[in-house]
Symmetry: C2
Subunit: 426 residues, 2 copies
């Protein structure tokens, strides 16, 4: 059943891919209009979900589940932004004249069909749908169980609006149930990319089972290294910001590494600032001695992600030790150095393996919106395809188009072979 | 044991990654010099392999196993070419001023460590080693059993030359034995990309077992579609070239689709040309009737890769049917249209899902060298990362570097939030 629906989706999204960028902009505006018109209906359906589940959820999750007029206005504004963006599909990435009349073009195209698995946070649905439409992709949406009424209503409004205006509406599919996730992960012939958004355990679960490439991060163990040349006041401000501005975020700092030469002066100042901000410190033996705290971090605990007002602190003897520690215990998400010495910063940013490497600023900047990517589809910690905060470009790939006029390879082989020109066209 | 070696390799390749582009050019020239100096030794070691195995191999494979002075000269010239190429590492891909003094840079970096599994074709070893060095990657080389002496000698010459000149030489590792391949495919924490080169069965074996991303193609079922507007003479020339110029190549054509409106006139002409070129035709029922041949292609046989002087022919009723057939039975490798109607060509190149889509030229052009990519590391038929003929860019990824001066996220949040500028720097 599900496989059949996905085959259908693949087929329809192949057709929808041929729509022009201008048509896709019109569709995005039609969605925005329909959502505005149907706001009362969407809020009413969301209220059913909240009635059923909100009281059973922790406050932060209940808040995520709840749609408000303001949230919907923000979503609509996001769709209008996307409608105004230049078409990312069909962009010429390179052009080469291989020979007279034989021109090679490398052109951006949609990936095909991607699947986003998200939590009970219904606003994600329209963000993802908008990105899929802007990039010409088909999309499978699997939302959280608690948002069932909301998700169905949101998809229904969009489907109806597209159908009424005579636009294709079979390029997205809402699926439900945990079993369907397990099934989908096997269909690498029908889905080109899976983007899981949720707990670390959930992302790891997907990564381990999927035959389809996965874009995401199972952990955000971010570091800040304080070099001996650091501006102390700025360093403390940055660490406090990176830890406390949103402790549950994946780009919050979990471990601070401090150069041994400044540990005795720096650590007490940092500790004071952390205490004031409500942060509990743990540390290596040396840190614990210096700060007179007792919570020692075990060797196996350096890759813990606290996602809370807890910070691990370690004294390191050198820049090299800091880099090695990060490359070993980090999650390749976001790591930074605090140093005034420019050469030291450059060495650090070259040598650390992570998707985002920062100097003298908070790790919390690692975010698609702050990076200017527009909407963010996810943050990837792998090496392949897109990594770091990923916007629309993660939903695109490319193809080579070669246009000739009867050209055959035999001309360029053998004794009297003609040479290919291979001249890049700027 | 192997895991320990790979951990070592990862560590050393992290250090080697910091070498400047100029140093890597010097190392490439040092390799070229050493290989030239030790040509007699390399030929002698290769002769041992040939003595042991050549008589047991089919002639084409025996030829691939054999090193010659000319082959070595070509390899040396290839390394000198790479030495002269601009450094692909550390290129600025984008630059954005997020706010005053807070500048985001997207920069090209090596993938890390990749693994190439190749057949008993020792010249591949130096091509891969050169690409790894130019792109700053560590590399695991697994060559064919029959080339054991050659592979060891080739690696030994390079290692000795680098060591003597005081360059790092621990960024590559030669491994042997099929078991080690199975073991390596589990180590997704140590290897970033696997590139299998060999039979379709072998590539599929790797794809099915690997926890590491795989770049490659398990099949090359390439199509040419002859539209009613085709230039008949050119179409026949292109089909004969695409089938016969190197039938065992993955970019040779396997199936020709012919528009029904021209089938009766076109097919007999094509058949004649194919017969003259020694090609045996198989076909759909209509083709068999028209050509009075009896070898009917069964429905399940349309995705066969013959890799031989055999061609499957099918009459289709429309452009749409041709596109659907290719997207269904093809391998997303290389597919082409033969048509004088420009709009038809454009529709075809947009709608066909393959990595390379051609109009009015031979599928045999799908090749990294012909595309002007320099050396080709493989041809990918997936959608993720690099696809089509892949050169150096498939061995690179990127990172984001953000340089600030004490910037914290709190400044941009809450009531009196400052707005980020997010101004692209051209």
């Amino acid at each position: 059943m599900l496989r059949k629906s996905l085959q259908n989706l693949q087929e329809h999204s192949r057709k929808a891919r041929l729509l022009s960028g201008e048509t896709r902009s019109q569709m995005l505006r039609a969605l925005a209009d329909a959502i505005t018109t149907h706001t009362p209906y969407l809020l009413a359906e969301n209220a059913k979900d909240c009635e059923e589940h909100a009281s059973l959820l922790p406050p932060s999750l209940a808040q995520r589940l709840t749609l408000t007029e303001e949230k919907i206005e923000t979503l609509v504004a996001g769709l209008r932004d996307l409608a105004a963006k230049p078409d990312p599909v069909g962009r010429e990435l390179a052009r080469t004249e291989l020979d007279e009349g034989l021109v090679l073009e490398k052109v951006s195209i949609p990936l095909g069909v991607f699947c986003v698995i998200f939590e009970s946070r219904p606003d994600v649905l329209y963000q993802v749908l908008g990105l899929a439409l802007r990039t010409g992709n088909g999309v499978v949406l699997k939302g959280g169980r608690e948002a069932t009424h909301s998700n169905r209503a949101m998809c229904g409004v969009v489907q109806e609006a597209l159908r009424q205006a005579g636009y294709p509406c079979d390029w997205f599919l809402l699926i439900e149930g945990r079993d369907s996730v397990d099934e989908i992960l096997r269909y690498d012939d029908l889905i080109d990319l899976v983007i899981p958004r949720g707990s670390n355990e959930f992302v790891r679960y997907i990564q381990e089972r999927s035959r389809i490439p996965v874009l995401g991060h199972a952990a955000g163990v971010c570091h800040l290294y304080v070099h001996s040349s650091a501006d102390i006041a700025k360093a403390i401000q940055i660490i406090v910001d990176a830890k406390t501005q949103y402790p549950a975020a994946c780009n919050s700092v979990e471990t601070v590494l401090v150069d041994a030469s400044i540990a005795a002066t720096f650590l007490p100042l940092l500790h004071q600032a952390l205490l004031k901000a409500g942060v509990r410190s743990r540390g290596c033996r040396e840190t614990c001695d210096l700060l007179r705290i007792s919570d020692t971090v075990k060797d196996t605990e350096w890759s813990l992600e606290y996602s809370d007002l807890i910070l691990a602190i370690k004294v390191v003897s050198s820049l090299g030790e800091a880099i090695d520690h990060i490359n070993r215990f980090g999650s390749r998400h976001t790591d930074g150095i605090l140093a005034q010495d420019h050469a030291v910063c450059e060495h650090f940013t070259s040598a650390v393996d992570s998707a985002s490497v920062f100097a003298n600023c908070s790790t919390r900047f690692a975010d698609g919106y702050r990076f200017g990517l527009g909407a963010e589809i996810g943050i990837g910690t792998g090496k392949i395809h897109a990594r770091g905060p990923v916007g629309m470009e993660g939903l695109l790939t490319y193809k080579y188009i070669l246009r000739g006029d009867g050209h055959v390879v035999a001309t360029y082989a053998g004794e009297s072979a003609r040479r290919l020109l291979v001249r890049p066209i700027p």
